[in-house]
């Protein structure tokens, strides 16, 4: 099976610090792939480099066999690769529904003038987006809050909105950055079920998470990053039992002595 997302030799350096050191990994279509590792191991940086939010220093990224290294961040999103952020992001002044509609408008009309005149094709697109948004909001249980300003939502609700937004427009790959950080177990379970359902519909996920139970529960494959390097990658059971992974998380004696 050809990989949906293929990363080869991704490297990112800051002044004096190598955040990513030649990382290579793959995400297969129709899968949920986990990306774990201790804090500072470079997971979010990897997301940023893949989606062109930050410039990479070396390496190549292919999405559906197409090199996406040179596209702008918004271009990658239009291609069908969406992402969420570590600190949950919504548009606070827009309503929940408008947030989702905004997330669906990535295919602009032929011209700005067409947008302004609200030609029939645009109005049709808006109606379709509204239907999709409605469906997603019902799915995540936020239909009652559709007209509420997103800035007034609770943390958990905002996370759901962000999640729903990333699914608008039918992306093929969604990069989730800690989607269940800081939320209660019931909501975690809900999100887990949603992810499984969405995977069943053919959407692939690359998941950064510290909640290892969730990761080992739903992921088909797990990669472990440590200090910018890929430590290992494999089925959850194999990775969970790998002593190097445990050591990376708990820290070795060498590190304690230095600290």
């Amino acid at each position: 099976m050809t990989a949906l997302l293929r990363i080869e030799g991704l490297t990112k350096r800051y002044r004096g610090v190598t955040a990513l050191d030649g990382v290579s990994l793959e995400v297969l279509p129709g899968s949920i792939t986990g990306l774990v590792g201790p804090n500072g191991s470079g997971k979010s940086t990897l997301f940023d480099c893949v989606t062109c939010f930050q410039r990479k220093d070396a390496g190549a990224v292919w999405f559906a066999e197409q090199s996406i290294g040179e596209l702008g961040a918004h271009g990658i999103a239009r291609l069908g690769v969406r992402r969420t952020f570590q600190q949950t992001r919504v548009f606070p002044e827009l309503s929940v529904l408008q947030n989702l509609l905004t997330a669906a408008q990535s295919t602009p009309a032929r011209s700005m003038l067409a947008e302004l005149c609200r030609l029939p094709e645009i109005r049709a697109a808006e109606r379709a987006a509204a239907t999709e948004a409605d469906r997603l909001l019902h799915e995540v249980g936020l239909a009652d809050h559709a007209r509420k300003a997103a800035g007034g939502l609770s943390y958990g609700q905002a996370k759901l909105v962000e999640l729903a937004m990333s699914l608008m427009g039918g992306p093929r790959l969604v990069l989730l950055d800690e989607p269940v950080a800081g939320i209660n177990p019931t909501l975690i379970e809900h999100i887990k079920q949603h992810l499984l359902a969405w995977r069943a519909r053919g959407i692939s996920f690359l998941l950064i998470e510290h909640n290892l139970r969730l990761v080992f529960d739903i992921c088909d494959w797990v990669y472990v990053l440590d200090q910018g390097s890929l430590l290992t990658g494999g089925p959850p059971a194999a990775v969970a039992g790998d002593p190097r992974v445990i050591e990376a998380y708990l820290g070795s004696r060498k590190r304690h002595v230095r600290g």
């Binding site: 939010f53 918004h74 999103a77 992402r83 997330a103 990535s106 700005m112 609200r118 808006e126």
Partner: protein, 310 residues
């Protein structure tokens, strides 16, 4: 829905003013208000809706003013053409200023937009062959629109009213469209806007282009109405006034800045303030608003009212 009636009522009043009052002074205030309504929409589009603190509005305004003046005086063109040219001049200036400025850090952006304005003022002072420098250009001819000429304030009032309505109409079209939503998204959370596929740079350039066109048109109207311009049209006093109108009125709302324009054109006239006192008052008001009511008076009042409800 009551707001719709209020808006209609306001337009009704505006239409009737010249029929009710024969005072030339009242008409003058009305005309100046109309010009500022056009200008505040220009600033509101980049500051209020796109979240860009651009100090370049006088640059577009001045370009429009000089453009129509020079075309009218040198080539005697009909003002339908020169006004269009002024709008295009403003639009081009907007794009030319926007493209380099928007790639910079947000601090540098503010500084560079100001610098562009100062540069244009410098050019206007120094390119004496073209602009007569500090002496300015007087006796700007009365406008001729499609062959019809006028100097009568009565006619001016309605012309400006129509243009102001046009400006508001353009704003409404933008704000109600997906572009408007993309602007708000860019303003409120740019990384997220990018992540959902919005080309934020293109959106900002668009805002600059339309803002430039509007301000350029405002400049053209200003030039032909006052029949005199000098490099002072690129001056900072316009920015001061516009900032007050937009921020106090309600940055990022459609009608807030319009009300701001009404209040801050009429009020100084009513109070017969000298320019220094007026500017001083503006400074104090701007400071107070920025510190206490960043979303403008309308929003502040709205919040107070919300709190009183059970």
């Amino acid at each position: 829905m009551t707001s719709r009636y209020l808006v209609l009522a306001a337009w009704g009043v505006a239409l009737l003013v010249p029929l009710v009052s024969t005072s030339s002074y009242v008409l003058h205030v009305g005309i100046m208000t109309g010009i500022f309504v056009i200008l505040v929409q220009s600033l509101n589009l980049v500051l209020g809706y796109s979240g860009l603190l651009s100090l370049a509005t006088p640059a577009f305004f001045g370009m429009g003013a000089y453009c129509t003046t020079l075309l009218s005086l040198r080539y005697g063109l009909d003002n339908a053409l020169t006004f269009a040219a002024a709008a295009i001049a403003g639009l081009s200036t907007g794009v030319l200023v926007g493209i380099p400025s928007l790639r910079l850090s947000r601090h540098s952006f503010v500084i560079v937009t100001l610098s562009f304005t100062l540069l244009l003022q410098l050019v206007a002072y120094n390119w004496v062959d073209l602009t007569r420098g500090a002496m300015g250009i007087a006796s700007i001819p009365a406008p001729r629109l499609f062959g019809m000429a006028w100097t009568d304030k009565f006619v001016w009032y309605y012309v400006v009213l129509v243009m102001a309505a046009l400006a508001i109409g353009v704003m409404q079209a933008i704000v109600g469209s997906r572009i408007g939503r993309a602007m708000i998204a860019t303003r409120d959370n740019e990384p997220l806007a990018v992540a959902v596929g919005i080309d934020t740079f293109r959106i900002k350039i668009f805002a600059f282009a339309v803002s430039g066109a509007l301000a350029g048109l405002g400049g053209a109207v200003y030039a032909h109405y006052l029949t005199f311009i000098d490099p002072g049209v690129f001056g900072f006093s316009f920015t001061e006034t516009l900032l007050i109108m937009v921020i106090l009125g309600g940055s990022g709302t459609l009608w807030g800045p319009v009300i701001g324009a009404l209040v801050f054109t009429a009020l100084p006239e009513l109070l017969r303030l000298t320019p220094e006192v007026r500017s001083l008052a503006y400074g104090v008001i701007l400071l107070a608003v920025v510190l206490a009511m960043p979303k403008g008076v309308a929003s502040w009042v709205g919040q107070r009212l919300d709190r009183r409800q059970p």
